[in-house]
């Protein structure tokens, strides 16, 4: 059931905004060089899509974000499981984690630039740092929340630590790991674009800065809009995947009740 009334109301604001923008620009009230206008932005979006530049930039941004997310995700899940399973380890490292975590990821942009130079690797490194901490925290708290009886079973069956993690801990902590990884994916995209805007000549962020510096306001807004669409689409897709892959988990839990 679609609620037409709500849908209509939701569309009022954006349409009004775009119409006003177009009209004021056409009437010459708003400056052309800095604001462009919706019809020109739409045309710039289509032509950038048609000649492939927009898709190539999107690919570059997503490549850096995905690589960084995958590396950080794998290491952080492993570390988070260990910290969650062995509280002494968590207590010992707590000060170091609390000291490193609040460093804003963007502060590492110059360092990464110094070490790797421009390009993919420096961007991936910053994304790794940004994604690592939230996934680590969410995973370790998820593991700490596992039913103690389950771990007892593992011990009673004399499973090795590796098998206990693989067979018992990971499945039981999967919902929180999934949430952590989804949060991490959002962070990865945001940080990748931010690195590109700040320094790295790569991807969508650089495309925007480049358009802005060559006074192509239409192209700049086209890419801003595109980043919004990509971010929104990615979020929806990840939610879908999470729901589908974890369906067994929730249904098993329902059945156990």
């Amino acid at each position: 059931m679609i609620d037409w009334r709500r849908l209509g109301r939701g569309l009022v604001l954006p349409i009004l905004f775009l119409a006003l923008w177009e009209l004021l620009r056409a009437a010459g009230v708003l400056p052309y060089e800095t604001l462009s206008q919706p019809s020109l932005i739409a045309r710039a979006t289509l032509s950038a899509l048609a000649d492939g530049t927009l898709l190539y930039a999107t690919w570059q941004t997503l490549e850096a974000a995905t690589l960084g997310w995958a590396i950080a995700g794998a290491v952080a899940v492993l570390a988070g499981v260990l910290l969650g399973l062995f509280p002494p380890l968590a207590r010992m490292t707590s000060l170091s984690v609390e000291a490193l975590r609040p460093i804003p990821s963007v502060a590492l942009i110059p360092l990464s630039l110094l070490v790797f130079g421009f390009g993919l690797r420096m961007e991936v490194a910053v994304v790794v740092f940004a994604v690592f901490w939230p996934v680590l925290i969410v995973t370790s708290s998820g593991v700490r929340g596992i039913e103690p009886n389950l771990l007892e079973v593992g011990r009673a069956l004399k499973l090795s630590v590796a098998r206990r993690i693989w067979k018992l801990v990971l499945p039981a902590a999967l919902p929180s790991i999934a949430v952590g990884l989804r949060l991490g994916a959002g962070i990865a995209i945001v940080v990748a674009v931010t690195v590109e805007i700040a320094t790295n000549p790569w991807g969508l962020g650089y495309g925007m800065i480049n358009a802005s510096q060559s006074l192509r306001a239409d192209l700049m807004f086209a890419q801003l809009l595109w980043i919004g669409v990509v971010g929104w689409g990615l979020n929806v897709a990840l939610l879908r995947i999470e729901r589908r892959w974890l369906a067994w988990f929730w249904s098993a839990r329902e059945a156990a009740r």
Binding site: L13, L95, P102, I103, A107, P110, V190, A198, G228
Partner: protein, 257 residues
């Protein structure tokens, strides 16, 4: 019990010190060129030098001023707008779809647009922070005002409170936890945006300093700057956490988690 806790905090300090020792040993071994990897001794020497000559404080002041000015504007606008939208279901129908689209946009993505409109100025940075940091406050405030306990609304009706009284005396306190959480996230975003915008616009401040240090291969200055940004991130977050517990002390401890 107390002795044990003391032992654990001692072990976490020792672990952190061991990491710094490892850093020193690696730097002394010169496996990596000191142009990328200065020793902690050199880094802290630079840091104390910057403190004595005052260059640290002036850069810190610039960055903090922009961060706080932008954050304050964002919080004020976010709470005001959020209260209006959250209290009225009609307003929610009109605003929410637009806000949902804006939410996943990287806050830094408006930087290129802001540079075009306002130039490479300090005001531009504050405007970018105000715009980029408003989302967590705005969305959390909307949520907080919407989720007022229905029984409290009934009480308000029984007492014949006016609309304004009802929002200030009933809705605001009940939305406060959400608002404060949003305000804290937005301060972290403000710091990130302040740093990125300084890098892009070459306005004096901590972010500009570390980028210049990296370009000149002054690695000790760079590491010192990263440490300062980490401390700043930690302190601002801790201060707001304190404020949160103080302002929410009237609330019973949250049950469950």
């Amino acid at each position: 019990m107390n002795a044990r806790r003391l032992w654990w905090s001692a072990s976490s300090v020792l672990f952190a010190l061991a990491l710094i020792g490892l850093w020193q040993a690696l730097a002394d071994a010169r496996i990596v060129s000191p142009a990328y990897f200065p020793s902690p001794a050199r880094t802290f020497a630079v840091l104390s030098d910057q403190m004595q000559t005052g260059t640290l404080w002036s850069a810190l002041g610039e960055t903090c001023w922009r961060m706080l000015a932008g954050w304050f504007t964002a919080s004020l606008l976010g709470v005001g707008l959020g209260a209006v939208i959250g209290l009225s279901p009609t307003a929610r129908d009109f605003f929410e779809p637009t806000l949902e689209f804006m939410r996943p946009l990287p806050a830094s993505a408006i930087l290129p647009a802001a540079v075009l409109l306002l130039g490479l100025t300090s005001q531009m940075i504050i405007a970018v922070i105000a715009f980029g940091a408003i989302w967590p406050v705005l969305l959390n405030t909307i949520h907080g005002f919407r989720a007022v306990e229905p029984r409290l609304v009934e009480v308000a009706r029984m007492l014949h409170l006016s609309r304004v009284e009802r929002s200030v005396k009933i809705a605001l306190p009940s939305a406060l936890p959400d608002i404060l959480a949003g305000v804290r996230v937005s301060l972290a975003i403000s710091l990130i945006l302040a740093v990125v915008a300084e890098m892009l616009s070459s306005q004096p401040g901590l972010g500009h300093n570390i980028l210049v240090a990296a370009r000149a291969f002054r690695s000790a200055d760079l590491y010192a700057g990263v440490i300062v940004l980490g401390v700043l991130g930690y302190l601002t977050n801790a201060a707001l956490e304190r404020a949160e517990t103080y302002w929410l002390r009237w609330r019973p401890a949250p049950s469950g988690e």
